[in-house]
Structures are given as structure tokens and as C-alpha cells.
Amino acid sequence: MLKINDLHVNYGGIAAVKGISIHVPEKSIVTLIGANGAGKSTTLRAIAGLVKAASGEIIFQGENILGKDTIDIVAKGITLVPEGRRVFANLTVLENLKIGAYLRNDNIEEDIYKVYDLFPRLKEREWQLAGTLSGGEQQMLAVGRALMAKPKLIMMDEPSLGLAPLVVNNIFEIIQEINKQGTTILLIEQNANKALKIADYGYVLETGNLSFEGKGLELLQNEKIIDAYLGTSKN
């Protein structure tokens, strides 16, 4: 579904992504793990058209989308749940969901209910300003907002960042649920252990280069990855 070939991205004069190739098959969960500053976010931002890539190819459903405008990329069915949630604090929960469907002209009512089924908490807070929600609720809203676009591929940038452990588990369950309903997921995580457990395939990014790749569970057992990213958390 999404194929990235030899992608280079410069960010503020520094080569942040130095020629990576990633394949995200349809209906899979693929994760990109790595330390801070490895180039994970930059990769997602390049796919979403928020930063211009220097060279390479980003093929989505057979079409090179590199260099296209963010609006066109969203229209083609890719959405990004940005790092830090970035819900619109001055809009209500319901408005945040509606704005996720900004490019759609069909009836969105049913999809709002679907999001409420996934996140009953959002239904309770429908008329509240998004800025008054807790961090976990904001993350749910950010995911729900992305779903409202009816995307084929959802990219998530550190959805577990700064959330309580129970909420993190909940978010990971929801990610799997969304995937089961047929949406492809490209997930970036620092919580490598959790991400690899739910991922079909994983890539490890180190200072702009891919160092490892493999099936999620294989990577979980790889000695080097255990040492570098999982620490003792495998127990």
C-alpha cells in the first residue's frame, strides 16, 4: 500500500533521514522504532507532505506522492495523528471530530457514532472544549479525529507519549481494533516493547538510517534490539 524508496529528508540544514526504504502492506501494522532524533517523526512528516523530502520516492497505492500538497495527500487517504495530540483546544470535542472530516461531503453522522463506540468517553464530553480534556482523552480525540477522514492509512506519532500506563494499554488495544476494522497503520513509538508486540513488521531507525528490520516478534527477541531499545522491559 505504501512503499518508501531511498527517502532523504533534510531538516533545518541537517540530513535527518538518510535514505530509508520502508514497505507498509495493506491492512498491516508497521512500526518504526528508534531513539529521539532518529528521524522517525521527520519520516512521517515527509509522507504527510509537511516537510519537503530532498529525494526518493513515496509510493502510495501505485502513485508517487512525494512533493504533493498535504491537502491532496489527506484526500488520497493518508492521515497523521501528530505528536503531542494537537487537538484544537478552542473547539468542542464534536467539532474536532467534524473537522477531521473536513474534506468529506457525504454524511458523517454514522462515523461520529463509530468513533463514540470506540471511545465512549468522548461521547460523554461531546460539548466540552477539547482543551479541557485529560491527556489520554485528548489522544483518543486525536485518533478519533483522524478516523473521521475515513483514511486508508493512519500514521501515528508517539501515541503513548506522556500517558499513564493504563491509558497506554487502552490506546494500544484501540490501535489493534482500528486495524482489525481494515485500516492500515504506520506507528512510531519510543515504547518499542509495546509497539513490536502488536506490529506485523518493524523497522529500527538510528540517526537517519535503518539498522534492523523484521517481523515484530522476531525483533522483540533480537539481542541487539533488546539491549538498545527494550532494556529489561522484556520481562
Binding site: 483546544a89 478552542n90 473547539l91 467539532e95 467534524k98
Partner: protein, 297 residues
């Protein structure tokens, strides 16, 4: 002081206040979205007054057709301003855009002086608006009476657009976060252009009502109203539309009451706005209805 004089001045205060309010909405909306004080807003107002002079006096059009042309032309000018002076600086530091706004303002003032000379032109006498109406012993012009109603109706229209429509929702989203708004598929430039369309059309309507009250059109006529309406927007809480209207009313009323009750200080009429600005900045910089802080990490 007679009760008649007081009532007359009260009506004047409300009327001038609502004119300030119309212009202040334009300042506050553009600020809300771009964090930019559009210094050229007062000059759009000035150009709108000239457009009215030309369409009615030079082209002898009926006033209502002239009014439509003035609104359309002012919107065109507002969009041109946004396209040439602000859009190229979208990613530039705020100070650069501010300087560009001041430059655009000077440019329009000097362009008007060059094209139309500095000699004041008479604003066309629109009988429907200037006709005096007597209520008891008070005599008011039609424009004085209808201006507050026009302002309130337009405030409702603007509030409806920002709170109940899709483009309004996009405006509020863009005002908070450009990048995430783009991720929703929102065309930022279209949204910003829409705020300039609204602001410029209100400035044009304001200019027509203003001209019926103070029928003298000159290149620098937008400077003082522009500054005062910016202050009205700050007083109401910049970024807040209702606040801008409230600030406009307060400012207009304060001016007229100064003239009425403290006649020796009449010469300081224009100064009162700046006194208010200093007090607001010292006491409550967010203004009366300043943006609620709802951000939470």
C-alpha cells in the same frame, strides 16, 4: 445640561461607537487568525470612502448600486493586500509581517494622495441616510439611528459564520494551529482570505455610514479611526469578535461623553482612546473578553 442634549449625545455616542465596532471586527478577526495587526485596515476604509465618491459623484450611480460596488471593490483590495503583503511572508517572523503591514498602510495612503490629491473631497449626500428624524425635541439623522442596528446585525452574521458554519470552524482551527489544520485538509490560504473578505466588507459598510456622518474624504482619514478601532479591539480582548464590538461602543461613548461633560477638554477627544489603551495594557492586557486559556499539556 438639558435632558434633550444628553439624549442626543447618547445617541451620537452609540452611533459612533458602532462605527468603531464595525472596523474593530476586522482588526480582531485578522489578529485572531494571523496574530497580525493589519495596519492597512484603516486605509481600506479610506479607499472604500473614495470608491463611494467615485461611483456616486463621478459615475452618477444610485447609492445602493454604489454601495454594492464599494463593498466588492474593498473586498478586492483587501484580498490583493493579503496576497501581496502578507501571504509571501506566511512563514516569516511576526515582526517582518508587522513591518509589511505598516508599509502597506503607508503605500495606500500615499497612493491615495498621489491619485486623488490631498484636497478633501465631499462625500455624496445620500438622502436616505442623512435625512433628519425628530424624536421629541431631539433631531437625529437616519444614519445615526440605523448604524447601531446595522452593527448588531452584522455582528450576528459574523458570529454565525465563525460558530455555525464549516468555514467558520476551519477559521477557529487555523487560528489555533496552522499545521494541524493542514493535516485536516484545510486550505489555510482560503481560510485567511475569507477573514479578509469579511473584514474588508465591514470596513466598506463602515465607510459608507461614516461618510454620511462626516462627509469629508481624504487620504489620511483612515489613520485615526484605524488606530482607535485597533484600540477598541484591544480593549474588548483582541481575537474576540463580541469584545471588539463592546470595545467600539465603550470607546465611542467615552469620547462623546468627554465632549459633553468636560467641554474644556474637547480638544483631547482623540487622546482618550490612547489613555484607554495604556490603562488596558497596564491593568488587563487580555482585554475585557480576552481569549480563554484552555491549553492543557
Amino acid at each position: 445640561m438639558t435632558i434633550e442634549l444628553f439624549m442626543q449625545q447618547l445617541a451620537n455616542g452609540i452611533s459612533i461607537g458602532s462605527l468603531y465596532a464595525l472596523l474593530a471586527i476586522g482588526y480582531t478577526m485578522v489578529y485572531g487568525i494571523l496574530r497580525l495587526i493589519n495596519f492597512a485596515h484603516g486605509d481600506i476604509f479610506m479607499m472604500a470612502a473614495y470608491f463611494m465618491v467615485f461611483s456616486i459623484i463621478n459615475f452618477k450611480l444610485p447609492w445602493y448600486i454604489g454601495a454594492v460596488i464599494v463593498i466588492v471593490a474593498s473586498v478586492g483590495l483587501g484580498l490583493l493586500l493579503e496576497r501581496t503583503a502578507y501571504r509571501p511572508l506566511r512563514d516569516a517572523p511576526r515582526m517582518s509581517i508587522m513591518i509589511s503591514a505598516i508599509g502597506a498602510s503607508f503605500f495606500l495612503e500615499n497612493l491615495a494622495t498621489y491619485l486623488f490629491t490631498g484636497v478633501p473631497k465631499g462625500f455624496p449626500d445620500i438622502k436616505v441616510l442623512t435625512k433628519p428624524v425628530s424624536i421629541g425635541n431631539i433631531s437625529l439623522s437616519v444614519s445615526t439611528i440605523i448604524t447601531p442596528f446595522v452593527t448588531i446585525i452584522l455582528l450576528y452574521v459574523v458570529l454565525f459564520i465563525t460558530n455555525k458554519t464549516k468555514i467558520g470552524m476551519a477559521m477557529r482551527a487555523v487560528s489555533k494551529d496552522f499545521e494541524t489544520a493542514r493535516l485536516m485538509g484545510i486550505n489555510i490560504n482560503k481560510v485567511i482570505a475569507t477573514t479578509f473578505i469579511i473584514g474588508s466588507s465591514l470596513a466598506a459598510i463602515g465607510a459608507i455610514l461614516w461618510g454620511s456622518k462626516y462627509p469629508s474624504v481624504m487620504p489620511l482619514m483612515g489613520v485615526m479611526p484605524g488606530l482607535k478601532c485597533f484600540i477598541a479591539a484591544v480593549l474588548g480582548g483582541i481575537g474576540n469578535t463580541t469584545g471588539a464590538v463592546l470595545g467600539g461602543f465603550i470607546l465611542g461613548m467615552a469620547e462623546i461623553m468627554l465632549v459633553t461633560f468636560l467641554q474644556p477638554l474637547t480638544g483631547y477627544r482623540d487622546a482618550i482612546a490612547f489613555v484607554i489603551l495604556i490603562i488596558v495594557l497596564l491593568v488587563k492586557p487580555t482585554g475585557l473578553l480576552g481569549e480563554k486559556v484552555t491549553d492543557k499539556v
